[in-house]
Subunit: 154 residues, 2 copies
């Protein structure tokens, strides 16, 4: 067993987390069917703009339907042993209703422009209520970096 | 944009998927609250034994409670651009009720032995109904490798 690095302090986790959210584009997006009992999970591209996680997928996909029906997502960014988890409420936005600057930022960051896809595509804004980050079990304590929509004090 | 490799054929995807399930130990585990609307997602270790994905977590954690209440999980293995997704029914197993050979295999593969943790830990057997694998958008067609609990013919 390799030696385990010490747990990062809150300031370091906040800095690491903000850097990852600002630069990563791959996320795991978990949603739930409105009937309960039916978890869904797919990889999607995202961009982080002004503390909002912006996604896009087809409105008719399982994820799109779950997001529209429940208004909730839990999104993982980073690998399993260096995770950032973002949980919050979700707002669906029609392709033409997103400010062009945000749509351009999404296309530029992800290399994928939903405006060039079928009309069934939607943007989804995930407004975080909770953000967590940890690497290994020794970082489970102190993993909450945002609670009730507010970043913790460092 | 780098050139996109051609889509793998079914035989290659089946071989890649079985190899990954047999050797990886990190998974993203998505569950849903029984009330609907509440997706949950955490990284957990797993081992794949006889086409069953074996996990362990605390019975009182959100994931443990969701698994017990709904009997369903969707689990991702591999990175976002080389995914294996396993969806199925879930059976909770008390620590002392798992065959020791399976418990030993779990501890040896993951480096984590739930039998050494608090009594609140449980094993969870995910019996796959559906297995999917894809890398990029050109592999979305043909992504189903198991349907209704049966591996597709290659």
């Amino acid at each position: 067993v390799p030696p385990r690095p010490p747990a990062r302090d809150t300031a370091t986790r906040l800095a690491d987390t903000r850097r990852r959210l600002a630069t990563d584009i791959d996320a795991w997006v978990a949603t739930a069917g409105p009937d309960g009992a039916a978890p869904h999970l797919v990889p999607l591209s995202f961009v982080w703009i002004d503390d909002v996680l912006l996604l896009s997928t087809s409105g008719g996909s399982v994820t799109g339907r779950n997001l529209s029906a429940t208004g909730r997502a839990r999104v993982a960014v980073g690998p399993t042993r260096d995770v950032v988890l973002v949980e919050g409420t979700v707002e669906a936005v029609a392709l033409g209703d997103l400010p062009p600057a945000e749509a351009d930022a999404f296309a530029e960051a992800t290399g994928f422009d939903p405006r060039a896809e079928s009309d069934d595509f939607r943007y989804f804004r995930v407004r975080p209520e909770r953000v967590q980050a940890w690497r290994e079990a020794n970082e489970l304590a102190g993993r909450d970096l945002m609670r009730d929509g507010r970043w913790v004090e460092r």
